[in-house]
């Protein structure tokens, strides 16, 4: 396959056809000071074998969670990915990154999306799910836009417990549309109901909460929901889908739009992406949903089939008035999530969630026994928690790296005011031996 599809003869023919002498003449309209006039300083071409060696040398510098004991979290988790997932999703019938452009001829892909939507809706306790979005952050920002469109109001309250990156994405999405975002402060690591009460009013389009929040803590979602609805605002949440093996689903606490990051459902960490944006809502908001939606129907002979439905929301029909500019989904990552959920089933997911809960609490208890280490917050948590450390978290992270332990996330660069906060995530993959080894290695920092 030629990687440079135009030969010299091709280029000459094209230039002749449009009536310019050479490539330089084609660029004549670009002001000279904007042109890059030097030669590109690129190395000489390499053979395939040389390229392979060069790339291998670089990839060997990468460290993956397979090489270490990882306590990293913050939205990207080291859960176990059963081999069956890769086996199924790498089948050529399925292996596509996107919803197909001629969707109805790809019945298998549409059925997968339909099954994905059905499982996600059931897991979240919501009426309807879309075919997925890019990641948890963009799903949450799209939910904010839905809320603004639905309520006609232009102010969004976002808990500071929402992932700092997600908050940035929300701001990026909203600022061009003159939608105001305001943070709701935390109190002891969870959203302050007092601050929420002061800030919420009838101009509020939505209140956005992450549950469990970025710091791992559970939120008072059952108390927040009625407060939001009293003000005719929408309740929007971001949820760790694994946590729903043990926690109540968003539908049970009256959430209007439920979102989440689906990487944890059968997907590896993928160096930060591609991930899976989950978005589900009440049925009455379906025409405001971004992205694609697959539906089931019957053909002229009464046989079951699948279609993309509610397409009038989308930009190929609605043009500039489309609900969103997202016109595809994370088909492959959604497929992995679908296989994962089907493989584990209800009981499997409960077991994974239970193990996460037990592991994280075991580790938290053990770390607390060390002098100078303390749980930062009294709130209940699921699989992630913050400890305050006797030395700077960065020092701990750096010193444990050579021991093949990823200690967690240093919270000092974020806006939590936690200079000595280390965010530790514990999945079902962590054995007691691994956790004990981590605790043992932390002893060198005791004070």
């Amino acid at each position: 396959m030629p990687f440079i599809p135009n030969t010299d003869a091709d280029r000459k023919a094209m230039l002749e056809r449009i009536g310019v002498k050479n490539f330089e003449e084609l660029l004549a309209n670009i002001p000279s000071e904007l042109r890059f006039k030097r030669d590109f300083s690129l190395p000489d071409p390499l053979s395939e074998l040389e390229v392979l060696r060069a790339v291998q040398l670089r990839t060997q510098c990468n460290r993956s969670v397979a090489d270490a004991i990882s306590f990293l979290g913050g939205g990207a988790y080291d859960h176990f990915v059963p081999a069956a997932i890769g086996h199924i999703s790498s089948r050529s019938e399925f292996y596509t990154a996107y919803t197909p452009y001629q969707p109805e001829v790809s019945q298998g892909t549409l059925q997968v999306i339909y099954e994905y939507q059905s499982m996600i809706a059931e897991l979240l306790g919501m009426d309807v799910s879309n075919a997925s979005l890019y990641d948890g952050g963009s799903a949450l920002a799209e939910a904010a836009l839905m809320a603004v469109a639905e309520t006609g109001k232009k102010r969004i309250l976002v808990s500071q417990g929402v992932h700092p990156h997600y908050r940035q994405i929300i701001k990026t999405y909203l600022h061009g549309q003159q939608i105001e975002t305001q943070w709701v402060a935390l109190e002891q690591g969870s959203t302050s109901l007092a601050d929420l009460k002061t800030k919420i009013d009838h101009q509020t389009a939505a209140v956005i909460i992450q549950h469990p929040n970025f710091l791992g803590n559970l939120e008072e979602v059952f108390e927040i929901a009625p407060l939001v609805h009293e003000h005719q605002a929408l309740f929007v949440t971001s949820t760790d889908p694994i946590s729903l093996g043990i926690l109540e689903p968003p539908g049970n606490y009256d959430v209007d739009i439920a979102t989440g990051e689906g990487q944890c459902l059968g997907n590896s960490l993928n160096y930060g992406g591609p991930y899976l944006g989950i978005l589900a809502s009440r049925l009455k908001f379906i025409r405001r949903m971004p992205g694609r939606i697959a539906g089931a129907t019957v053909d002229t002979q009464g046989r079951r089939g699948f279609v993309l439905t509610f397409q009038t929301r989308e930009q190929h029909i609605r043009r500039e008035k489309a609900t969103s500019n997202i016109c595809t989904n994370q088909a492959l990552i959604a497929l992995n999530a679908t296989v994962y959920l089907a493989l584990l089933g209800k009981r499997g997911l409960q077991e994974v969630a239970n193990l996460c809960l037990q592991n994280s609490h075991y580790l938290a208890d053990e770390i607390q026994k060390l002098n100078g280490f303390q749980l930062a917050f009294p709130a209940p948590f699921f699989k992630e928690f913050v400890v305050t450390t006797p030395v700077a978290p960065a020092e701990i992270i750096d010193k444990l790296l050579p021991h093949n332990i990823y200690a967690g996330i240093d919270l000092s660069p974020f806006d939590f005011g936690l200079q000595n906060g280390l965010l530790i995530a514990v999945t079902e993959k962590r054995s007691k031996e691994e956790m004990d080894q981590f605790v043992e290695s932390l002893k060198m920092f005791q004070k």
Partner: protein, 127 residues
């Protein structure tokens, strides 16, 4: 195709029926418009007390494969919305001039009616 004589029309295929006694305008879309759209599956309408402006969108109408904005023939304040259309939007296909009406507007400037077409002009507009 039905084009009732007592109505006024916009180029965007809305009709308006004016009640001279109270300056309330009843608004819907024409028989021609419903035929062009095909099976109507959803209408999004404003709420009572919302303001509308002449020839600005007041809602959207959605058919199976198309969606269009609805333009208000007159300016004013919404006094009534046809709630039947939320559950049975296909009423617009069956009965665009009667049961398929969409909104009633208390007109703020009845002289705006002067720019609208009568049945004769509208017939020419769509032919």
């Amino acid at each position: 195709m039905e084009i009732p004589k007592e109505l006024l029309y916009t180029e965007e295929h809305e009709w308006v029926l004016v009640d001279d006694t109270n300056n309330i305008a009843t608004i819907g879309i024409t028989d021609y418009a419903q035929g062009e759209l095909g099976d109507i599956v959803f209408v999004e309408l404003p709420s009572v007390n919302d303001e509308v402006k002449q020839m600005e969108p007041f809602g959207t109408i959605e058919a199976v494969k198309a969606v269009s904005d609805l333009f208000s023939p007159v300016s004013g304040v919404i006094v009534e919305v046809n709630t039947l259309l939320q559950e049975q939007p296909e009423t617009i296909n069956h009965d665009p001039y009667d049961k398929g009406w969409m909104i009633k507007v208390q007109m703020s400037n009845p002289s705006e009616l002067d720019v609208l077409m009568d049945a004769e002009d509208y017939k020419k507009h769509i032919s």
